[in-house]
Symmetry: C2
Amino acid sequence: MAKTTSGFDFVIHKRRPGTDLVRWIYDEVRSAILEGRLKRGMRLPSTRELARRYGIARGTIVTAFRHLYAEGYLEAKVGAGTYVRTFLPEEFLHAKRTARASTEARKFTPALSKYAQRLAPAPAGRGQPAHAFRAAEPALDVFPASLWAQIASRRLRAATRKLLADVDPRGYRPLREAVTNYLGTARGVRCTNEQVIIVAGIQQALEITARLLIDPGAPVWLEDPCFFGVAAMFKALAAKIIPVPLDKNGLDVAEGQRRCDRARLVYLAPAHQFPLGMTMSLERRLALLNWARRTGALIFEDDYDSEYRYSGRPIPALQGLDQSDSVIFAGSFSKVLFPSLRLGYLVAPTRLIDKFAAARYTMDRHSAVIDQAILCDFITEGHFGRHIRRMRELYANRLEVLRESVRRTLGELLTIPETEAGVNTVGWLRKGLSAEAVARAAAERNVEVIPIGQFVLQKRRPEGLLLGFGAVDDRELLRGVKDLAEIIENCGKSRHRALPMSSR
Amino acid sequence: MAKTTSGFDFVIHKRRPGTDLVRWIYDEVRSAILEGRLKRGMRLPSTRELARRYGIARGTIVTAFRHLYAEGYLEAKVGAGTYVRTFLPEEFLHAKRTARASTEARKFTPALSKYAQRLAPAPAGRGQPAHAFRAAEPALDVFPASLWAQIASRRLRAATRKLLADVDPRGYRPLREAVTNYLGTARGVRCTNEQVIIVAGIQQALEITARLLIDPGAPVWLEDPCFFGVAAMFKALAAKIIPVPLDKNGLDVAEGQRRCDRARLVYLAPAHQFPLGMTMSLERRLALLNWARRTGALIFEDDYDSEYRYSGRPIPALQGLDQSDSVIFAGSFSKVLFPSLRLGYLVAPTRLIDKFAAARYTMDRHSAVIDQAILCDFITEGHFGRHIRRMRELYANRLEVLRESVRRTLGELLTIPETEAGVNTVGWLRKGLSAEAVARAAAERNVEVIPIGQFVLQKRRPEGLLLGFGAVDDRELLRGVKDLAEIIENCGKSRHRALPMSSR
């Protein structure tokens, strides 16, 4: 499995005074091979080429190479040049050399910033493929990848200078216009193109917002429970997190005011709360906006998962009700199209547009422009709207399959409440069952469920599980429900067995 | 120029109690049109569809629409449905409504974080096309866009689930391997795949580094002069900036130690300093590494612009000499391929890999995966190496054209020093000429030059201009030199005329 020529120029370190030329070339090539910088099977530049490049006599290089042939590092192929050998001599002599970082260096931790110390570790990646009941992932197997490929190919073939050069940190203008239209029509967002900033997703939108508004110690209302990524991000910034409870009407605004009337920022997902799934009522929305206008607080509206609504009327964005330029609205294309796309949008209050642009520019300039152009075509040619409608139908069916089989198989052990929207739902466990124990046992059988307790900031909730139904097909959903039923029954039994012991 | 149907569901606000149904539908549609959420020429869903969706009688919607037809908001096209009219009645009655942000709201600035207050505004975008002597932009007109399109199309047509789903925040693994190979071979970087993190560019690499290491007040050495984006980023983080002067051997390490021996981080571009262009000597490199090992400081090696070296031997990275896991190495594909790609790499010290991954994850997850896969193919199939070689030849020629015509046309008015690498060079003005005055006059004639003084942190330099030669062809280079000669001569004259006055 020889690699082909690297195609790159090979660099060598300066000769230390006192080393002879042959030795220097020999050492450089040998150590590059041993350190893996020159890979096995890789073709080296010709001696003539190397001589020219480093300004030394070709004979010197030929002599050094002769040693390296003799010792088994290189081999010559007639008419094809010089290659790094596939089997190397050192392998017979020593254990394989690993990366040069000494264990000594590893022990020594450099002085990290307070931010770095507070930072939560990145989670381990998720397995392939998606098992029941993976949450927060779309049905990737039905994504129209070949249509996307066609659009991409057309865009790229006609790529203009403009598409290859840098753009406004707020993003590719035609995409911003398409997003403005989409949000106006489908989400009731009221904004101009100027307010729309293309970002890498809701997480980046929130990161920029938080950094523009939050100094260490600044109070922030978070929905309790909420997505851990959100809480972790505010913790890393040393915000003072004020958990605000939820009821069936969404965020309890009055309770938030009691806990901290002077919060700088509120984070919430009014269309479809994560993980509980309720929609915020109009009365609560108006109360929140009034409070924000009075106190000068800003509201971050996470519109995640709002695209799929199965019953009831589509709920326009909170942003559309705002009269005081207080709402930062954010959504993502990653969940509607595919997560690796890393494109989303933020609608900035007009008075903050320049600050958002400045922050994005200093952090990472802007999102990749060709991707933005492809997405723009996908939207303006009507594919996006069609894709949403198709997915809505698919997800509605999957939800129905899940509900039906849970009802039939799990009965009162697991209750799925009315689910109006989204690709995740909560399932409440019968009293006495532990969501943590169920999730642990489920993981061993490739059933992915997350205990609701893991999202809780403060207020204890009944034991429940987050169940995703978008990413997996009917068969896998049914398999998941069947296995989950056995798991829950076993957990129930072991609890019953355990009771006499724990009551002692 | 009628727009086609939006394809999105149109959302309407909840009916306020007491409004009748017809009035409600009428108001919602009318205000959506006036606010631009329903665009002119856009097709509306059918009355049947709307009735179904909002659970109201179709007759109600028909009545509301009849008012809207009568008043000129909507028009019916036989057999084709209902459209928003291209000419709207309000235009004859009122001035056009702008976005809803009231001027009152604009005046009120919310409480911004200290970071936001320190943030420099994003610069205005650059014009199209590139004029002489645009800096820091590659020759976009010769980028092999159709080859890129082919690779992209092949990748996308075969896009697997894996390519659409989220990945490790450090990036797409095969690309990280390709980058490891490239950096090992071409740049003398010693690292494993584990250390390589794909980022959105050097700016993001630096942003992450700074946030992991810098608390407000932490001392950082910056090369003086250096790129303004770098200084602005550290200023926004309230780092204590220690300007360290440069001489022909690069950063004056001894002077840095005198100024602040306990710096937490050093930022430098040893391969090709920006904007002065010198390469750091081996002695200085070793001195810097020794100092870092002794004090525990970390070194950020910006490898920007190292790919193009026209004379002398390729200089391996500082990172390759480091024995104490102290160097963060970063480079970008944006300048070698195209800026809007937004892909670069960072090689983390082994002991900081997890922190880098955690920071990237919380900031924006990871870079778009399909772009990473396309780039990976472009590298492993040898196109990248070939592209660099082709560009090196092109840029060497352009540099020669620039040098020759400056020598011939500008003589002693502007001196270009020996330029070994990169796509920018400095031009020193004859004593007495003002770089600012020249740059201002040049801008009026579409000649882009940046006074070196704009990059200075502290130490005054002779008057000089940054001249880019990569992005513009020979004809434009010659045009630029000719115009620049006239501009400089005029500036010289006006200075001479001004002298008697200013000496009074």
